[in-house]
């Protein structure tokens, strides 16, 4: 069963067709790679899937529901979330606050409950949904920071984190939603080979631990080839190829358009 189906997806900016009739799907529980030269339309596809852009044509089906042109937050609440290629953290908040904020998805207490139970003696508070859920959120935030190795820098202002940590924080924030489908846009950018390797393990670990599917954009071929179950290759907005890492690596067209001699793989 596929968690995501993209069907004939097209996006135009003025006269420019950034994504042109692209069709592929992401199998449940898989890690699917989305690769292609710069400007091929990868990020644009993420923007379309997450509702940041309106589609020009085609269909996006998530978990059996058509979601194209839904509002971004609704799509997020259905279970798709992402990281950004150009990092978009809550810049002036701390690491902990970034993660905790994102955890909000897992709580249901209302504004009214918050107003009433916010400042009352513990005895009364303890039995409220507000108290229980807030406690839970905090635990979740701690856990996520732990998993992504952010505990040491929990009180850093996000903007002051080194690049690599900002990327991790983006992942942590995305995971807070307990997504069914996680879209990662160049998570390894700015990481050295050692760190990239750790990230590779982390992504696989996350997939299993959180029981989710991953759609991944990356230019680090070692990472892509190692963990992807399937790879979709884009070129000039069109799908160029689709297949297992092996197939893709040996595909001459992909080599010519993207890999270049294959010495990066």
């Amino acid at each position: 069963m596929n968690i995501l189906q993209v069907n004939g997806l097209t996006k135009q900016f003025g006269g420019l067709t950034a994504v042109n009739d692209v069709t592929f799907d992401v199998e449940r529980g898989s890690i699917t790679g989305l690769i292609g030269p710069n400007g091929a339309g990868k990020t644009t596809i993420f923007n379309l899937v997450t509702g940041v852009y309106k589609v020009t044509g085609g269909k996006i089906v998530f978990d059996g529901k058509e979601i194209q042109n839904e509002e971004a937050f609704k799509i997020a609440n259905m279970g798709i979330t992402r990281t950004f290629q150009n990092i978009r953290l809550f810049k002036r908040l701390t690491v902990y606050e970034n993660v905790l904020t994102a955890c909000q998805y897992n709580a249901n207490y209302s504004l009214f409950e918050a107003m009433v139970f916010g400042l009352v003696p513990k005895k009364i508070k303890r039995n409220s949904r507000f108290y229980r859920e807030e406690k839970l959120l905090k635990e979740q935030a701690e856990e996520l920071m732990e998993i992504l190795g952010l505990q040491d820098r929990r009180n850093f202002i996000a903007n002051n984190l080194p690049y690599g940590f900002q990327r991790r924080l983006e992942i942590a924030r995305a995971l807070a939603l307990r997504p069914k489908l996680l879209l990662l846009d160049e998570p390894a950018a700015g990481m050295n080979p050692e760190e990239t390797e750790k990230l590779t393990e982390l992504i696989a670990f996350i997939r299993d631990k959180f029981d989710l599917s991953v759609l991944l954009i990356e230019h680090h071929m070692d990472l892509v080839m190692e963990i992807c179950d399937k790879i979709v290759v884009l070129n000039f907005g069109c799908k160029l190829a689709e297949g297992t890492p092996k197939e893709i690596q040996q595909n001459p067209e992909v080599q010519k358009a993207y890999l270049g001699g294959g010495n990066n793989a």
Binding site: F13, L16, G36, P37, N38, G39, A40, G41, K42, T43, T44, Q85, N86, N160, L161, P162, Y163, G164, F165, E186, A189, G190, M191, N192, P193, E194, E195, T196, E197, H219, M221, D222, A257, Y258, L259, G260, G261, N263, N264, A265
Partner: protein
Amino acid sequence: MLKVKNLHVYYGGIHALKGINVEVNQGEIVTIIGSNGAGKSTLLNTITGIVKPKEGEIFYKGEKLSLIPHKIVAKGICQVPEGRLVFANLTVKDNLLLGAYLRKDKAEINKDLQNVYEIFPRLKEREKQMAGTLSGGEQQMLAIGRALMGRPEIMLLDEPSLGLAPLLVDTIFKIILDIKKMGKTILLVEQNAFKALEIADRAYVLEQGRITLEGGAKDIASDPKVQEAYLGKRVVG
């Protein structure tokens, strides 16, 4: 040519650079490797005057550098900053022309422009597009192209291969070598340490604000500690 002496930089309470000494000679490629948060970008930013050091001096051609960015740039030092920082509200072409802001030679500027377009044909196609809507990799090309337009004597490159497709990564390193051949000097910060060390003459390893290792690029590349920490277990290629 460029000499950094006992540099200390603080961000509020954070001691980001703890007494750095770096030297770059005319016509050399020098690379700085180090993990996230080591202080690489901080070093480059301090050289171009964007970050003010608390202690220490920077000499350029024997002269002490001022701390004012545009004066530093006027001396022929140019940086490709981390995060690209293209002018999102201007077209690709305007971005490139701004790279040549301090130059007056119209004809030469035009020649360089064509040259950049040759290296990155994608930019030529997108000449009139607003830079902010370019894809990540396209922006990176633009940032490099913009720096080339300034015809600097020394270029500070902060992770120039970031976000570029493998094919282009090769291109970029070729370009860096080409620039060197033109007699220019390069200070390169790279996560792709393997490639960086391959083209560099000398290298520094930066760890938590301190230089822990320095020497010829080949030596550094064969250092077991460096191999483990920065090159990954499987050295590819």
